[in-house]
Symmetry: C2
Subunit: 230 residues, 2 copies
DNA sequence: CGTGGCCTTGAATGTATTCAACGGGGGTGG
DNA sequence: CCACCCCCGTTGAATACATTCAAGGCCACG
């Protein structure tokens, strides 16, 4: 593993405060791999052998049941995924595949568990990370259960706007966004059309919001669902 | 706080392995309170002052937005809730109210945070608990996004059957169950009717499943959604 | 220059919610 | 102890919402 990659990871909240020794130990068994787009990284149900960190590209987390499939989240650099399965030494609940060409760090799960049972700082960082993940999923559930599909889309766009400004790019295919938002591609198309009346202009992957106040009146965003962490 | 209550809590995975000192310290600021039914314990958005543990009765976690409300979970003894908010010192994402007369332990959040930053065993127990909570919510999301309402109900009944046998009691009002399963009370009524053809007999709050194999063929339960922890 | 996948649109279908009405059980107060 | 009432659950009908199916256009890729 390149020293360069290590320093990139070291600054993550997860690893920032752990001892030098513990970090070096953890990195000893780790390695970095570059994957082409559309490659399956893990399959739900499989035992959790590696903890994953995306340092370049992007990864889709998805789940399947009875022939249906749904996007659960997308992971962008620099962030980790499947921490909970790693900790519990339990089967993955979600599958993962690369969206684009991606560079991924793989750390043996047993190393992660061994380290967090000796290093208090690491253990605390994991607590913090897991708590954040938990709250993210809870917000997601609230979004799904309390809002209609148009409302979900409107709030999604406002969240993007908050991070990237009034003009931004959807960072994923529409069919993937639709699945993430809990609807079909056809329904997303129609929802976008509905939002035209609220100053939403979509051209391919690029979105422009011309009347934020109008969308907000419809979307009614709240920190308790739409903020990253609160 | 009664010594009796303390020993009850002590056996929880969360507290089982921490040092005697740390536990005593934590219990010093804690107190137990008994609440009548239908009392609001916490309100989403409020700052997180206390970590809660249900030792008797039952508590509903719910969320609201834009005049709508949905049940997120019910907590039965002995279990805790809002651990993540406690850890992050962040506002509650969910509200809580008693369903029946309930005895609840309240531990100042700051005490929990102080303890977990010094006691490694406690910190690890929290990691484990949070990982479990996370996986539970993820399973819930998969349930919501991948299954129809009849399928969700069928799987819910099978989970109850697995824990309580072929004849069991719904442990909550039907309207609450409907909300938990992400549907209206009317729709739950109709879903139950659909399941009659699969050997589901419902009389008030008591349920009898006479043809498990039939329901399973419809419900297609999977450990990756329906098992408590895996 | 073909070809396959994605997005869009329309129409038909299916699923779930809303609105309204009714019956029954539990609790309260007379 | 009984009568009343409120809330819950159920049912039906109408509506709204979302999916499915089918077709066509467009772009990217080979």
């Amino acid at each position: 593993m390149r020293a360069n990659d290590q320093t990139e990871i070291r600054v993550l909240p997860l690893f920032r405060s752990m001892t030098e020794d513990a970090f070096d130990n953890l990195m000893r068994g780790a390695y970095v791999q570059t994957f082409p787009p559309h490659v399956d990284l893990i399959v739900e149900g499989d035992p959790c052998d590696f903890f994953h960190i995306v340092i370049e590209g992007s990864v889709e987390l998805f789940a399947a049941w009875n022939g249906r499939e749904t996007t659960m989240a997308t992971v962008s650099p620099i962030a980790s995924f499947i921490l909970a399965a790693t900790i519990k030494d339990a089967p993955y609940l979600m599958s993962a595949r690369t969206i684009e060409k991606s560079r991924i760090v793989l750390i043996p799960s047993s190393d992660v568990r061994a380290t967090f049972s000796t290093d208090l700082a690491f253990s605390q960082a994991i607590v913090d990370e897991l708590a954040s993940c938990y709250r993210t999923v809870v917000k997601n559930s609230k979004d799904l259960k309390l809002r209609s599909s148009v409302e979900r889309l409107a709030n999604y766009l406002l969240r993007q706007q908050r991070d990237q400004g009034n003009r931004f790019d959807l960072r994923m295919e529409k069919r993937r966004l639709a699945s993430y938002l809990g609807m079909t591609p056809e329904n997303l198309s129609r929802s976008i059309k509905v939002l035209r009346a609220y100053g939403v202009e979509v051209d391919g992957m690029s979105v422009t919001l011309t009347h934020i106040a109008d969308i907000e009146k419809l979307a009614k965003p709240t920190p308790l669902i739409d903020d990253k962490d609160s």
